[in-house]
Point group: C2
Chain length 111, copies 2
Amino acid sequence: MADEQKMDREGLERVARVFQAFSDATRLAILQELKSGPCGVGTLVERVGGSQGNISKQLQVLAETGFIRREKKGNQVFYSIDDPRVFEMCNVVCSKLTSEAQEKAGFVFEI
Amino acid sequence: MADEQKMDREGLERVARVFQAFSDATRLAILQELKSGPCGVGTLVERVGGSQGNISKQLQVLAETGFIRREKKGNQVFYSIDDPRVFEMCNVVCSKLTSEAQEKAGFVFEI
DNA sequence: GCTGTATATTCGTATATTAGAATATACTGA
DNA sequence: TCAGTATATTCTAATATACGAATATACAGC
């Protein structure tokens, strides 16, 4: 099915770089906002919090993954989700965390 | 469909922590080895390279995500994939990188 | 208990990351 | 061109990370 060949170090580093982009709460908060639709930088600064400069930087990190799109419109720059599979990944992690929490709380009977 | 409620900062930080675990080439190399089946630490040191101490540390980081299982058997410790969805996530990233590379090379005609 | 093997932990160092403040650039409209 | 608004970049400090070397712990067999 999937490619069973092993990836070389450079390939692994590129993949790692993408996960890295999603490994920060501020950037995930931005993603969460973009889920509702495209958004300008100023609006994201308001909604996510933090300095304008920092939000702008984090947006660039996200855009470099290829999952987020950058689009200039006149004076403003709008960011949006370019590939919704980014949320599939988040959902996998979330559901894992949820089931872990349930196990910890003893809500699950494993056979 | 998915939970549309916004996650608080603490939740986002927990998710970020999991992505963080996958954001390192050495740890991805370990995952790649585990794909073929459970593996002891010593074998992973041989196959992945680097010091034994470092591999052991990285294994712990992976195990903390809940996607990788740790199992003691006598003198040895075996690690294995506990939730194969970790590879789904990797595949999403890989396919994105592949399509990006193709676009860069001009192999894709967008309508 | 002692020895050897397997794994984990600690320590120190080089490097990377995050964030705010200040500054620079880009664009719009008068 | 000038002023104002929106975004990006640079600089700096605090913190986090990855790694090897050395050391500690766990366990099996004698």
